[in-house]
Amino acid sequence: MKTKKHLYIAILMPVLLLLSCTESFLDVKPQGTVEESMLQTPTNADALVTAAYAMLNDMGSGLQADTWYSAIRSGDNYKGGAGTADFGGYYAIEMVAPLQSNDGTVAGVWSAGYNAISRCNKALAVLNRLTDEEMPTRKVRIAELRFLRGHWMFLLKRLFKYPVYVDETMTNEDILNRSNKEFTNDELWNLIADDFQYGVSNLPPTQDASGRANQYAAAAYLAKTRLYQAYEQDESYNVTNINTTRLQEVVDLCDMVINSGKYDLFDNFGKNFTYGYDNTVESIFAIQFSKDDGTVSGKIDLLHMGDYSMAPGYGCCHANVPSQNLVNAFKTDANGLPMFDTYNDADMSDPEDFQTNTVDPRLDHTVGIPTHPFKYDLTFVYDYSWARTPSVYGYFASMKQTQLPTSPSFKNIGFIGSSKNWDILKYDDVLLMKAEALIELGQQDAALPIINKIRTRAANTDWLKYTDGTTFSNYKISTYEDGVNIDWTKDNARIALQWERRLEFAGESSRFHDLVRWGLAAETVNNYFLEEKTKRTYLNGAEFTKGKNEYFPIPYSQIILSKGLYEQNTGSW
């Protein structure tokens, strides 16, 4: 009988145990994470600002917002790689006509932009709840976040024309109910400008950390915004008016940067693209890259990993290949000036072509050319075998953002990158923005010395010489002299300015958006296709539709997710 009692107790015990601990047993807390309430301190708010900056070197957003969307759409570069299907997401972007509204790459750009913006907005929301007493740096940090938000909105604006605008005051519910047409084109520019204006008013001229935006970065970005805004477009993307009030703002803002005395041009154009000069005199705002920083691959510049050729020490991917048209654009005439109308009549492709023609020295800072030393290293000579698919993309290679395998910044992880920074705003851009504004204001004479300053610096061939003093190519470049080698009218000044921008920023993220701003995209790109496809047959089928392809389509998936609230861009996508 006793045994039986024991047996019952043995049964009851576990049952009671299980019944007693119900609720607490199921209360499992997440590990390695924090709750929102824990973030409301000055230290953590500051950390949220850091996290917002961190989106700048993010693979996803960076790659998607940088050179690919400009260079390979503008006639400057081919997509490149192993063939047309390699980096396949960019194929339709290069060919323009095949691009459809459900394109995955385009959808990725859109999302990446808003991921970055949401980091800014979430940090702003926390900072708004703190006081200046609690956090003395609060206003500066708010200004930095608004600068970053302005940056991302600017990129989205020039890619999509009508991105949806969101700020830190909006709940998810508000965002779900906001259309991309809530604001007009001009209102959108003004909203972006507001963020930069806040920076001009609240940021210090100098920051303790070189990666942070300062007052001049905000001024330069505001100038850029106003410059784009000045070219007023109709809904078919024709430029209908150039707003002189905006242009004057551009001039004033550029002057603010120029007169600060903080910035200047490097003596050598190549220093902009060579490790060792990060965060110095020509750089106004840059993406900071790092290596050996405790992450697996390092926060290196992989935005340009495609640009490296198949050279020993590189090995991948020979993408973003300079076009024949771009190379030809560096030709100069007997006066050392660009050949505006005839540059593309004959190709520079064989090594002797770079000796029989005269060229702008910036060519050898921009393009890897067979038999020429690559990136100023006389022992690292560009070989034909470095090209990956010459039958499709020819033999040239991108050079600007590549670093030598011997550079301390260089890192090969199977793909190639470096810790060399990438400039978002450079002093030469500020100078040329000012020049552009002056020309459109009819003050082309004031613009002349600015353009000549750029060309004078470009003439420096210190890094482009063999040991015997001969140069890689036959360089000839001179300044414009009114009445001597050019008739410096407003129209000619405009052509010169546009050409200067192409050469100075070749392969960077400027060209396509410049063309759209000037209202020249369709004709320029279609002319390029017409001539280039006789040399690169894969371009058969490439076509740019005016009034449509100036901007990306609003991603189809986002239109669905917005339940049709978003309006598609014009051009029957």
């Binding site: 299980l18 499992v28 850091t50 996803g60 980091r119 697996v296 691959s297 260089f410 047959t537 997710l561």
Partner: protein, 1058 residues
């Protein structure tokens, strides 16, 4: 040797007797003393531990190691009852006998087969739900370490797919796909649940006693919240019968025979020439070939083709003709041995099983080894009132995973890399892609060497301790504590390597990734059985608590001074950049459940189940879910009016309805989570390979380029406090039938299920930004299908045979999706996935090739269209090919899955033949895009068939014109690559021979069996039709892209019992 075995036998037997005596309460009596021996009726083996009892009294004893017993009974009228586990019990009237020898018969009746149905066992005859039993005896010789692979195609309703890699990874669906998320079934191993497929797949097949699948909701609902994908129950063997020693060994030889038909150097050259002239590019612009050719009118003619002496003028790199797959594949060898020692008495039983499995894969360097030890023991006390025991498996395995280069696995590269490249340079070093003409894939043979030190080590202990208490007759309380503790450790050593222009980076690296799991389950049940007149009833109530936790830690270290010595690659030996990651996760479940069965006259069966489950994965509002089920059975053949129909031996009708759940989402899906993320996240496999992380929170604000960076927080996900269980309700109707004295047996089940509140994590509107995604209860799916099993068996003298077939069909349909989720699935604004299968394919319609310029001009605007290119249909006739010209193209689900087994036995010789296949399936022929079109990726080898591609002179071809460019985007989703995936395989043929008794006696063996088995022998599929699959095996359509090809194997095996 023989003597030694006998000694062990005696020793073990002695222990068992001792245990028996210690606990037995021997009753002394007065009248008649009976002695005798109990043996097996077929093997004549002595049965130790059999119960011998005097009927109607508590008087009884157990047989000794030799099967002998001695018992004193009341008088001559006493009846002796002999019983033994797994045997039919026998009653003998004492009469005048003093010596009663008994031979016992194994329980064979299918209807009396005992089925484990969750927390209890039931006779098959009493079942009302849909339960399948896999025949383990039939599967035990398949040379695999994965039990699921052994039963593939043998069980109706169980759909197993997998590749041929040495680690034998498989996926399994019970009755198809019922949800949008995780489709893994719940596994129950000796009563302990797990959802870890990897753990289940590491169970040693030789230790498995029974394998059951609870398919429908009424059968599975006792497992409530986790049963919606079906439940697979496995019971491991226990010692029974007398003491026995079993030894099993087999050797398997595997070959990769079904290969892609790739180009050799001659064909590759002709194809490149063709591409050149087609594209208007000078064909001589290539590093390998010199062509002489001319135009005849507008027809290009190749006069002569010479290979260049060297690739890109490298004097060490001659243009060669390498058969790369042949360099990478070798003969695979599998060896497997098991030693099992077991024994049981009525009081206790024990089993020790040691197994070793080794698979030297068919791909260079790949290998898988597994050593497992199983210990199953139980013992009774207090007149069987208490039984305690344990079932444990200790397991260690080591895998050398498939070699990879930077981005692709070795089966991919070996098909991909052009034949012109030699394996070695003329100086004996590795050759690699060099200069123009190559893609960035490395030499696969070299990669096998580079990756040879990578290891995946899996160490696990799992099993349970249990106690059964029977305080009063027919009332059993059972408490069981199960644990699963494991360490899955991956080691990747990346030495410095260079394969032509491809490298693994400029520093050597070590990556260690450890996943530790610690799970426990505590289950308490109370079972009560009641028999009164014609009524029988069974009641079960129980509670269960489950705690799962796991942690993941990884270390990445760079710069090792010794590059080639794997013994040097330890974290402390590295001197470069270091990076460490780690996370933890866990969840808990708490459940209460009950079940009642009522059976009247073995004719009418009613069963009901209720389970109440709470999960830590759900918010407090919806933490608990209730899962009810009910089913009825009617044994028609017991009715008098049926008994007249003589040929019907048995018929049962079954009907069941039940609700089961699913909670397979992230452990913390209901929370809003902010996290520091120094490293960033790796969005996909490709970026993972390179360590390309994005969305991190660290930034070099100070521009110092190295060291520890400032870092912040990011929003990872948004909260959903209302998250609740996903639930599946299912109706199952079934009939079991057997005719002509069980010569024909069969069953048919029809099911219809609806899964509601499916847990999904839909994409959020991008403008809401990072971390806006949340898991929601959204979608609804339907799944309907049927299963048919038919068997025929007969014996004619010494010849007996049986033929069994199983056939199953299922079709799923998404019936509701929240608007926000729709965008996550294929479809466009006009055609959504609603009403389609989860695996429905969406895309453009292939409409032949453009034959001439008139056809091109007449067609709608289709960027890239041209002569010899694919014409896609303008579905909406708007003169433009765009997103709206896509349509539903069919599903990847087969219409019919079937298996056919035939067993033929003559005397001691048995021949087994097993066919399996699927019918009415479509597969995505990815290989056709990669290797069947040139433009898809340049610098890779292609199918030989590309030489037969369309040209103006060869217009019958359906292969688009060869081109370097893919300007027509021919790799878009379309039915061009959606092809017939039906196949039939002669999966195995086995001939086995039981050595004759007379011979065995002479060598003192109880039994011995030898066999030879051929695996994956013959494959039939459509190779010629317009929708023919272009690869070698439609069962693994992605073989050379992601999976390990299925080998053809021959095994030789020996099985002996000492």
């Amino acid at each position: 040797m023989k003597k030694k075995c006998k000694t062990i036998k005696r020793l073990l037997g002695g222990v068992m007797i001792l245990l028996g005596i210690m606990n037995g309460q021997l009753i002394l009596a007065q009248q008649i003393n009976i002695t005798g021996k109990v043996t097996h009726d077929q093997t004549y083996e002595a049965l130790a531990g059999a119960t011998v009892a005097e009927k109607g009294t508590s008087n009884g004893t157990l047989t000794d190691a030799g099967g002998g017993y001695s018992l004193t009974v009341k008088d001559a009228n006493s009846i002796l009852v002999f019983s033994f586990v797994g045997m039919e019990s026998k009653e003998v009237v004492v009469g005048g006998q003093k010596v009663i020898n008994v031979s016992m018969k194994e329980t064979i009746s299918v209807l009396n087969e005992v089925i484990v149905t969750g927390y209890q066992t039931q006779r098959r005859a009493d079942l009302t739900g849909s339960v399948s039993v896999a025949n383990i005896a039939e599967a035990k010789d398949i040379p695999t370490s994965n039990i699921l692979k052994a039963v593939q195609g043998k069980v109706a309703g169980l759909y197993v797919t997998g590749d041929g890699s040495p680690n034998q990874t498989t996926t399994v669906n019970v009755r198809g796909v019922n949800t949008l998320g995780n489709t893994n079934p719940l596994y129950i191993i000796d009563g302990t649940p797990t959802t870890d497929a990897r753990l289940f797949q590491s169970l040693d097949p030789s230790t498995i006693e029974s394998f059951q699948i609870l398919k429908d909701a009424s059968a599975a609902s006792i497992y409530g919240s986790r049963a919606s994908n079906g439940v697979i129950i496995v019971t491991t063997k226990s010692g029974k019968g007398g003491f026995r020693v079993d030894f099993k060994t087999s050797l398997t030889v595997q070959e990769h025979i079904r290969k892609y038909d790739l180009q050799n150097t001659d064909e590759y050259g002709k194809m490149l020439w063709r591409a050149g002239v087609n594209d208007g590019i000078d064909p001589n612009l290539n590093p390998f070939y010199i062509y002489t050719w001319h135009m005849e009118g507008d027809v290009p003619v190749l006069d002569d083709m010479q290979t260049k002496e060297f690739i890109n003028n490298d004097p060490l790199l001659p243009v060669s003709d390498t058969d790369w797959p042949n360099e990478v594949f070798k003969t695979g060898i599998i060896s497997s041995s098991t030693l099992a020692i077991s024994g049981g008495t009525d009081r206790s039983n024990s089993l020790i099983d040691v197994s070793y499995y080794s698979n030297e894969g068919m791909v260079l360097e790949t290998a898988f080894k597994q050593l497992s030890l199983r210990l199953n023991n139980s013992i009774n006390f207090l007149n069987k009132k208490i039984k305690i025991g344990e079932n444990f498996q200790l397991l260690g395995s080591q895998e050398v995973p498939s070699p990879k280069d930077n981005a692709a696995n070795i089966y991919h590269i070996c098909n991909y890399i052009p034949p012109v490249l030699p394996v070695y340079k003329t100086d004996g070093t590795w050759a690699g892609p060099s200069g123009a003409g190559f893609s960035d894939r490395a030499n696969p043979v070299q990669m096998a060497e580079v990756c040879q030190y990578n290891r995946n080590n899996n160490s696990r202990v799992f099993g349970n301790l249990f106690a059964e208490i029977t305080p009063i007759k027919n009332l059993v309380f059972k408490t069981s504590f199960g644990i699963e503790a494991g360490l899955y450790a991956q080691k990747v050593i990346s030495p410095l390597w260079k394969s032509g222009f491809v490298t693994g980076g400029d520093v050597n690296k070590l990556d260690l990734m450890d996943t530790k799991t610690m799970n426990w389950t505590w289950t308490n049940t109370l079972n009560y059985q009641l028999t009164k007149g014609k009524s029988r009833a069974m009641f079960l109530i129980g509670t269960e608590a489950i705690n799962n936790s796991s942690t993941y830690n990884s270390v990445h270290k760079e710069k090792f001074a010794i590059n080639d010595d794997p013994n040097f690659y330890y974290v402390s030996a590295g001197t470069g950049n270091v990076s460490a990651q780690g996370t933890g996760t866990g969840n808990r479940l708490l459940s209460y459940f009950g079940k009642a069965d009522y059976i009247f006259a073995d004719k009418y069966i009613v069963s009901g189940t209720l389970r109440y489950d709470g999960s830590s994965r759900f918010g407090e509002n919806n933490r608990f879910g209730l899962f009810p089920a009910g089913s009825v059975g009617w044994v028609l053949s017991e009715e008098n009016f049926m008994k007249k129909i003589e040929f019907i031996s048995y018929t049962k009708l079954r009907a069941g309805y039940g609700v089961v759940g699913n909670q397979e989402i992230g452990d913390y899906s209901r929370f809003q989570l902010w996290e520091p993320n120094y490293q960033g996240i790796s969005p996909n496999w490709f970026t993972q390979l390179f360590g390309l992380y994005q969305g991190g929170t660290a930034y070099d604000l100070f521009g110092v380029d190295q060291g520890t960076l400032p870092s912040g927080f990011r929003l990872k996900q948004s909260a959903n406090p209302d998250l609740r269980w996903e639930s599946t309700s299912e109706l199952n109707l079934g009939i079991d039938i057997s005719l002509w004295k069980q010569r024909i047996t069969g069953s048919f089940d029809y099911f219809s299920r609806e899964t509601k509140d499916i847990l999904t994590t839909p994409p959020s509107l991008a403008a809401m930004g990072e971390g806006a995604t949340m898991t929601v209860n959204g979608a609804t799916m339907e799944n309907k299908g049927w299963e048919l099993v038919l068997g025929y068996k007969d014996t004619k003298g010494k010849f007996s045979y049986s033929i069994t077939g199983n056939f199953s069909h299922f079709a799923d349909k998404i019936t509701y999706l929240p608007e926000t989720v729709i965008a996550n699935y294929p479809g466009n604004l006009e055609k959504t996935i609603i009403g389609q299968s989860r695996t429905a394919q969406f895309g453009y319609i292939y409409d032949g090739l453009f034959q001439n310029q008139e056809e091109v001009n007449a067609h709608a605007t289709q960027p890239g269209k041209g002569i010899g290119r694919i014409r896609f249909k303008d579905l909406n006739k708007d003169g433009m090919i765009n997103v709206l010209d896509q349509d539903w193209l069919g599903t990847l689900n087969p219409k019919l899955i079937y298996g056919l087994t035939g067993d033929f036995t003559y005397k001691d010789l048995t021949l087994s033949i097993f066919f399996r296949g699927v019918y009415g399936a479509l597969v995505q022929d990815r290989a056709r895009l990669e290797f069947g079109l040139l433009g898809y990726v340049n610098g890779s080898n292609k199918f030989s068939s590309l030489l037969d591609a369309w040209t103006p002179q060869n217009t019958d071809s359906d292969i688009p014109m060869v081109s370097y460019a893919n300007i027509n985007q021919e790799d878009r989703n379309s039915d061009f690559t959606l092809v017939n995936g039906s196949y039939l395989k002669l999966q195995s043929v086995q001939l086995s021979y039981n050595l004759p008794k007379s011979f065995l006696n002479s060598i003192k063996l109880q039994s011995a069996r030898i066999y030879v088995l051929g695996d994956n022998l013959i494959l039939w599929f459509d190779k010629k039709g317009p929708k023919a699959f272009s690869g070698p095996d439609p069962e693994t359509p992605y073989t050379n892209l992601t999976g390990y090809p299925k080998p053809i194997g021959v095994s030789f095996g020996l099985e002996i019992q000492l």
